[in-house]
Each structure stands twice: as structure tokens, then as C-alpha cells.
């Protein structure tokens, strides 16, 4: 074994285990829900290991069960996944210290929690190599994929109500919403998006509610910056995503 590999592995596992534990707790209901939508454990493993958006996975199952068309599901998942562009944009300056291939490899496979850990380690100047970052990514990603597959296997033999499994996702999204910066702009973006969803659903446009609401929310957030600001600058936009992250 390469010298220093053991301490590095220990460092990675020390950072990864709380995330891995929470992924098991969230991955199981995600798999149960996916099984309800007709996905096999193998599909769940493939999706979990390559798809790289746990929220998107939950959403895919929920919208499928709600009878949304395929195109709308893809558009909705794409809308919530654009946040990764922001994460990568904020990570990019810190990845300059690594080679191009290593940077791309890290960008391809981080989860939101792994992103938060790696960003804070790199920003604080701690010893966090590309190997650390990639090891962390693979550990948590594998845990997520296996948990989803196990959940799907469990869901095909045990009848767990969809509403209960689905509320794990709702709880996850509430946590993720709460973990965003508490600014006026964020509040306007969230309120604008929520109102748009309600308007769409009550006017029979449920299929496009989420992607449309995300766009309206961004517009509302940007518009909030045009209003007069307080002296403490509380209305400023979030410059970077919260490090709290997604369950996946």
C-alpha cells in the first residue's frame, strides 16, 4: 500500500461516515418509492451511482407516480439540477491546484454533502488532495446507490404507503430550503416559486409547475435586488450555495 494511504483513507472515512449514515436513512425510502414507480433494484443502483442527484431521483419517482409526462419529468429534474452549475462554479477556483483530469473527475461525481466538505477543506487550506476528494465522493456515492437498491428490494416485498415514503423527500427538500442563506432575496425567490406552483396547479398546469416556478423564483429573487435595501445589506443574493447540501 502506498505510504500515507492509510491515514488518508482514515481522514476520508472520518469526514464521510455521518454523510454515509444519513444516506442510508434517506436512500432506503428513495428506493422504496422508486420500486412503487416500477424501478428494479438494479435500475436504482445504476441511477444512484451515476445519476448524482438524490432530489432528482425522488422527484422522478413522485412525478411518475403522479402521471406526469416523460418530457415534463426530464424538464423538472433538469430545473432542480441546474444548481450543480453553481456548485461547480464555486468549486472551480479551488480546483486550480489539481490537474485538469482530477478536477473534472471531482466535478463529475461529487454529491452535495461531499461538495460542502471538499469546498470547506480546500477553502480553509487543510491538506485535502484530489485523492481525498475523489475517495470521499466514491464512498458516499456507493453508500447512496446501495441504499437505494436495498430500498427498492425492500419496497418490492413490503407494502410501505407511498405517501409516507414520499414525505421523506418532502422533509429533505424542506431541510434543503431551510439551509439556504436567510436573505430577503432568497425569501422572495422561495415565495415566488411556491406561489407559482400553487397558481399552476390550480389552473391545471401541474405538468410544468416545478420548472416554471423555479424560473419565476429566480426572477423574483433578482427583482428583489431592485428594491431599496436596508443599511445592513440583508437583501443581498447568496454568493454561493449553502454548504449544508442535499442528501444527494
Amino acid at each position: 500500500m502506498q505510504e500515507g494511504a492509510k491515514p488518508a483513507a482514515r481522514e476520508v472515512l472520518t469526514a464521510a461516515w455521518p454523510v454515509m449514515l444519513s444516506y442510508v436513512a434517506v436512500g432506503l425510502p428513495c428506493g422504496v418509492l422508486a420500486a412503487k414507480a416500477g424501478m428494479t433494484p438494479l435500475m436504482n443502483f445504476v441511477l444512484g451511482f451515476s445519476y448524482l442527484s438524490g432530489g432528482g431521483q425522488f422527484m422522478m419517482s413522485n412525478l411518475w407516480l403522479a402521471g406526469a409526462p416523460l418530457g415534463s419529468i426530464i424538464a423538472s429534474v433538469a430545473a432542480i439540477s441546474t444548481r450543480f452549475a453553481l456548485y461547480s462554479a464555486s468549486l472551480a477556483p479551488h480546483l486550480k491546484r489539481f490537474g485538469r483530469r482530477q478536477s473534472l473527475a471531482i466535478a463529475c461525481c461529487y454529491t452535495e454533502e461531499a461538495y460542502g466538505i471538499t469546498l470547506s477543506r480546500l477553502a480553509s487550506g487543510e491538506t485535502w488532495t484530489a485523492g481525498h476528494a475523489l475517495g470521499l465522493n466514491v464512498c458516499v456515492q456507493l453508500t447512496w446507490a446501495l441504499s437505494c437498491a436495498a430500498g427498492a428490494a425492500l419496497g418490492s416485498v413490503v407494502d410501505i404507503p407511498t405517501a409516507i415514503a414520499g414525505f421523506a423527500m418532502t422533509s429533505l427538500f424542506i431541510y434543503l430550503l431551510y439551509s439556504q442563506p436567510h436573505t430577503r432575496g432568497t425569501a422572495c425567490a422561495a415565495l415566488g416559486a411556491a406561489l407559482t406552483v400553487a397558481l399552476c396547479k390550480w389552473s391545471g398546469l401541474a405538468g410544468v409547475a416545478v420548472p416554471l416556478a423555479a424560473l419565476v423564483g429566480v426572477g423574483a429573487g433578482m427583482a428583489s435586488g431592485l428594491a431599496p435595501r436596508r443599511r445592513n445589506g440583508n437583501g443581498s443574493a447568496p454568493a454561493a450555495p449553502a454548504a449544508g447540501g442535499d442528501a444527494r
Binding site: L104, A107, F173, G244
Partner: protein
């Protein structure tokens, strides 16, 4: 969901997410984003998560089975917000949310 439908969902979404992840790293190596673009990108997560929460909690038929049946998920969501405020833990939010949902549905 058939295998072909799964493949369509997976491949299109995977390709989009991969571009979102990789493009900024390729494009921004050593280059900063304009402040307006950063501001707009910064509003995507709260807008998207709020849309998802609202999409789960609100429905034109939410009160069809009675007032409590419609309010119960909102109350459970309130419990999750309290837990998020107190613990800032994703794990506890998910556990408490499901527990609150199950317990409140028994009322």
C-alpha cells in the same frame, strides 16, 4: 416504468446534470463569473426547493378528504422546519418528518 422509459429518463437527465457539473469547471478555470450571473445562479436552489416543497404540499384536491387531511402534511412540514431550526441536521429532518407524518395521520 418500462426499461426503455427508464433509459430515456436516465440518459437525458444524466447528460444534463453532467454538463451542469463539468461546464463551469472547464469554462471557469481561473476566470470569475459576472456578479449578475452569480446572483441568478444563487437563486436557483431556493427557488427550486421551494417549488418542490410546494408541489408536494399543495394540490387542488388537498381538502377533498376533509380539512384535517389537507392540513396534516402542512403541520408535519412545520415540524420539519422546527427540527431544521433546532438541529440543522438533514438526517433528523427526514426522520422527524416521516415520524410526524405517520403520527399525525393517526389523529
Amino acid at each position: 416504468m418500462s426499461t426503455s422509459q427508464f433509459l430515456v429518463l436516465w440518459l437525458f437527465s444524466f447528460a444534463f446534470i453532467l454538463v451542469c457539473r463539468v461546464a463551469p469547471v472547464v469554462a471557469l478555470r481561473g476566470r470569475p463569473l459576472s456578479p449578475r450571473v452569480v446572483e441568478a445562479l444563487g437563486y436557483i436552489p431556493p427557488a427550486a426547493f421551494a417549488a418542490l416543497v410546494a408541489n408536494d404540499l399543495l394540490s387542488p384536491t388537498m381538502f377533498d378528504a376533509g380539512l384535517w387531511a389537507g392540513l396534516m402534511p402542512l403541520v408535519a412540514a412545520g415540524v420539519v422546519v422546527l427540527v431544521a431550526w433546532r438541529t440543522r441536521s438533514m438526517l433528523w429532518c427526514c426522520v422527524s418528518g416521516v415520524a410526524a407524518y405517520v403520527l399525525l395521520s393517526l389523529v
